[in-house]
Amino acid sequence: MSQSKDNQTFDPFDPTGMLKQMRDSNMESWSKIMTDFVNTEAYAESTGAMLDAWLTTSGPFRKAMESSMAQAMAQLNMPTRDDITRLAERLTNIEMRLDDLDARLSEGASSNDTQATN
């Protein structure tokens, strides 16, 4: 009894004491309310719509920025982001072929070893 009375008094040593008390008494119900809320159709729809709106409105700015950067890089005789991306894609393809060649060479080497042993 006296313990619960103590808990309700403000403790100057613990500046977050009041927050803790609020949390302990309300956290579970808040958690349930919020979890239920984010699982509603209304939340799903509004999130989807907000995301779509953000992508739609920011798209033209992004495109304008990319296009002006591409022009600037071309003026400077420098590769653009797209050039580097295409080059990286080609490198990945080459890497895959090298990996296959490496595997075949290893297989060949191990079968040669086996034949030599026999």
């Binding site: 100057p12 040593f13 958690s31 984010v38 799903a44 982001r81």
Partner: protein
């Protein structure tokens, strides 16, 4: 304050001046520690390992064995983690690491880290992960280990990739398949926030990928956190503050937070496929999913199967993993339910006493020569 006044204050139930100073000093120290926990990185993934293969951003690690060769299990274990997180959670911190645990039990351990996709990887999809990268990594690991048979552990989307691979390449030497919180069956469109959000017509994965290329890690992270907003945005930090003077808890929290903060984007192609073909159309379970023109038929999955489900998983609700048991062709299969959440079952405090021993004993019985 004189001694007489101080004594009077204590008698009246008032704190003394020195108590007040000490209390505020401790609070300041705690605040400093709290701030450090939020803004610095703990040392995670410390178990010694070597890179034995790379392809694009993917790396294959081999962990240095800790038991003599004659005591090791003949069937090595190959681990595949999700594509939108780092795999360090499998080796979180010394003394509390699944990797360490399995090495101690004599497994020859390999880990495939998909790496962080760049803009040039925006079209990478599950076809690439399952039929280009994974088979090559397995080919390399088999050539290094010399083993004809192997076990595979897949977690989250890593479990999805492992399942598809096991169904498409049943004769590739895969003996045992362990799935952890595998998102496979999306027939219940009301189970879990992700399914509900992505099934809404307002949510368009194609637009996201078309505008952004790869899906930013921040977007995926905030989506996962919004599934339980109070716990993730408030509860976790208030728990840390409560336990700030407990070094063990603080250390564990710091390691986990370091892993959580280290977010990576998800390849756009895989994201589109995940939302459209799996979450919305449930093609894997319906038997209509095709990778590189090959139909993924779960009946062709023959490996021994151990399917771990987290009962309180809000990211992959149990119903998304359970039904696989009736769909695969495996004769030896076991469903294991663990109390806990998506990550907690493997990285939480109870993992070492509950999840890991069960997994190890199941695998040990099937890892003989």
């Amino acid at each position: 304050m004189t001694t007489k006044e101080s004594t009077q204050a204590v008698d009246a139930g008032m704190p003394s001046f020195s108590d007040v100073c000490e209390g505020w000093h401790r609070a300041a120290e705690n605040l400093d520690r709290f701030n450090r926990m939020l803004t610095t990185d703990a040392k995670i993934a410390q178990t010694p390992k070597e890179v034995v293969w790379t392809l694009n951003k993917a790396k294959l690690y081999h962990y240095i064995p800790v038991v003599p060769e004659q005591d090791r299990k003949p069937v090595p274990l190959f681990m595949v983690f999700a594509i939108m997180n780092r795999p360090h959670v499998l080796d979180l911190r010394p003394g509390h690491s699944f990797v360490e645990y399995m090495l101690r039990h004599g497994y020859d351990l390999y880990l495939l880290d998909w790496g962080e996709p760049g803009p040039e990887d925006k079209n990478m999809c599950f076809d690439d992960y399952t039929l280009e990268y994974l088979p090559r990594a397995i080919r390399k690991f088999k050539s290094i280990s010399g083993a004809e048979e192997f076990s595979m552990l897949g977690w989250c989307l890593g479990a999805l990739i492992s399942t598809m691979y096991a169904a498409l390449r049943p004769d590739d030497g895969l003996k045992n398949l362990m799935l952890l919180t595998a998102p496979l069956d999306f027939s219940d469109q009301e189970a879990g926030g992700f399914t509900r959000w992505s099934s809404n017509p307002a949510f368009n994965a194609n637009t996201i990928v078309e505008k952004l290329g790869n899906v930013p890690g921040e977007m995926i992270d905030s989506g996962a956190k919004m599934l339980k907003p109070i716990e993730n945005y408030f509860g976790s930090y208030s728990m840390l503050w409560d336990k700030i003077e407990n070094p063990g808890t603080v250390e564990a929290w710091h390691a986990m937070n370091t892993w959580v903060r280290d977010i990576i984007p998800m390849a756009g192609g895989a994201y589109k496929q995940l939302i459209n073909e799996l979450y919305k159309e449930n093609k894997l379970v319906k038997g209509t999913l095709q990778l590189r023109g090959e139909t993924v038929d779960l009946k062709k999955l023959k490996a021994n199967l151990f399917n771990v489900i987290a009962e309180a998983d809000h990211i992959t609700p149990p119903c998304q993993s359970e039904s696989i048991m009736d769909l695969v062709g495996s004769e030896d299969k076991e469903l294991f339910r663990v109390r806990g959440g998506h990550i907690g079952i493997m990285a939480g405090r109870g993992a070492e006493k509950n999840t890991w021993p069960h997994m190890e004993s199941w695998l040990s019985a099937r890892s003989g020569g």
